[in-house]
Amino acid sequence: MKRLVRSVRESWGRHTVANPFGGRLRWSFASLLALLVGLHSSIVSGELIPTPDFSSHSIPTTQVPSGSGLAWEYLDVAILVVALSLASYFALVTRSRRHLFLLSFASLVWFGFVRQGCVCSIGATQNVALAIFDNGYVIPLSVVAFFLLPLLFTLFFGRTFCAAVCPLGAIQEFVSVKNVQVPRWVDHSLGLMTWIYLGAAVIFSATGTAFLICRYDPFVGFFRLGGNANMMIAGGVLLLVGVFVGRPYCRYLCPYGAVLSVFSRFSRFHVRIPPTQCITCGLCSEACPYGAIESPVSRATPVEASRGRRRLGYLLVAAPLIVVAFAGLGAMMRGPLSRMDPEVQLAEQLRMETLGLTATTTDASEAFRNARRDERALLEKVLVTQERFRWLGVALGAWIGVVISVKLVSLAVRRPHADYRADTKNCVSCGRCFWYCPVPDGKAPGVTPTTGPTEPSQLVQIT
């Protein structure tokens, strides 16, 4: 170290002699030492050793590469439209599981491994949330297209995006081999997580704090052939679980799937089981890994009906209480929620260091102190952030309460039907039931519009 200091000094000495601007160098040896012990970030404000005037050499300009341009983004959107159209066609018209399977393989290769999982519709939800709440953020048009197009297609054809376009769905579809039927109550309660995750993702992205969906994307590490070790492990576990429980991420975590399920409920055309042809063998219901084929529900007996009415009454009374209770819990979550913000983390670390509560410093706190930034200003800013997170916590809590109440009420309502039918909100049009249906001639449960009787002119007919 000493040697370096000496040589640096010598070289500077020579500079002073050699060039006419040398006199402007006024750094003392003491300050140089100070620099060398680690305060280098703060000295940049000093004067520079001038660039020499060369007799023959001209000083080059820094060259940096330009961006990759928008061509890829528009290509992606075009491929998305083609893939969505094909998926809808395969699910509703050719009704071929093989076609869907091949298409989902192609989607996995393109959107997954070639484009490395970005842009994806699931993550685009956050960009849309941020663009709505933050005037300064400019959302790329391709991201808007990735968010809206699958929703639009779902409104007409059901969740065909999930069937064969989404790379996250595709990778799980391939490992779904041995299907275990998940008990209904487990399925319903875990399914709530998609909504809660959606609420959390929107709150954090709308405030520009974090993009949870991207951060906790379990499969992007596989697409990029490397990534955060914890997330790779989580992805591996999900795939292992996915061997027995179909599409665990889609059903119990995917926030975009939650939005799609609402749109799918009102879809114009959807895979349907025509009651006139169905022999009620229940094979499709057995075969469906996603529990998306509802078995017949008998009419309630008078006793059951009165009990059901009473239960519904209780739930309707309890619903506001649940919402209020969760909102209250959310208000107490200010600490953990606001800690997602890096500035809050930094301020807390600085506070702990000053109070002597921690012996270790972080990179951020060291850099903060070395740059001599104003701690008071930071703390004031952080207090505002924390106060904002108190209200965001209340909002998130209330949202969770609403989600739970709606689920409880919907479970308490009995909807009798004599036939097996597709649960349009959970069905991802994977086409497995086509394979298992024993009714000949048409090889599958027929496909009709979800509403009204069929007309010959319509896209798909009862076979």
């Binding site: 060398l36 660039t51 007799s55 050499h57 820094t62 940096v64 993009f211 903060f368």
Partner: protein, 227 residues
């Protein structure tokens, strides 16, 4: 198409008709909502251009997180040399390891782990030897060792996100861990930043040639040119 009434629907049971009406109404409402959301977002897009991630070299402390936290195997962040700020020193603190044995290009003397800083003799002026240091972008891993070293002197070496490599993640994984929060979104058409000092130097150098009526961003870009 979606709200076309089929004649058969009129003769169906009242309950079915009501339910169907609701479903259709919701579907139309959903389509309208999607359309207006798309229109709103597209309208907002028209106000300004898109953004890319970039790190502010004046905030950077060369902590080396850039080389390890990027989602890419080989980080999108690489070092660049601002030649106008460089002193062309013989004893370069960005090039030589603190424990160097001799001032030459031998590997054990170099600070850079991948020998990405290329030293090249330029001129001998009154006994003072001047060297030019360029970054071999292929070899650079963005560890910032040279940046930290160079900060002892002129600080002409600094890190930048290279936009031929950056995949523009929603949440830049480096930005999340950057100790000085140096990462910001910058306009996509001017995706590189220079140090404030380089800017000042350049303004001096420009002098009275064409000082006036210049866009500040344009000025900022003059010390770096995009290939």
């Amino acid at each position: 198409m979606s709200d076309r009434r089929s004649p058969a629907a009129d003769v169906s049971l009242p309950i079915a008709g009501r339910r169907e009406f609701l479903v259709r109404g919701t579907r139309v409402a959903g389509a309208i909502a999607l359309g207006s959301l798309g229109g709103f977002l597209a309208g907002r897009h028209g106000e300004a251009g898109e953004t890319r991630w970039q790190l502010d070299p004046d905030k950077c402390v060369g902590c080396s997180h850039c080389s390890t936290y990027c989602v890419l195997d080989e980080s999108a962040v690489k070092c660049v040399q601002c030649f106008d700020m460089c002193g062309y020193c013989d004893i370069c603190t960005g090039y030589l390891d603190t424990n160097y044995h001799d001032v030459n290009t031998a590997a054990e003397n170099q600070l850079c782990p991948t020998a990405a800083v290329v030293r090249e003799f330029i001129e001998d002026k009154a006994g003072q030897r001047f060297y030019q240091y360029t970054i071999d972008e292929e070899a650079c891993i963005g560890c910032g060792k040279c940046v930290k070293g160079c900060a002892l002197m002129n600080g002409s070496l600094y890190l930048q996100v290279m936009h031929d490599r950056c995949v523009n993640c929603n949440e830049c994984a480096i930005a999340r861990v950057c100790p000085t929060q140096a990462y910001t979104r910058v306009p996509a058409e001017k995706p590189y930043l220079v140090k404030a000092q380089a800017q000042a130097l350049y303004e001096n150098k420009l002098g009275d040639e064409n000082r006036s009526d210049d866009d500040p961003v344009e000025q900022l870009m003059r010390t770096v040119t995009m290939r």
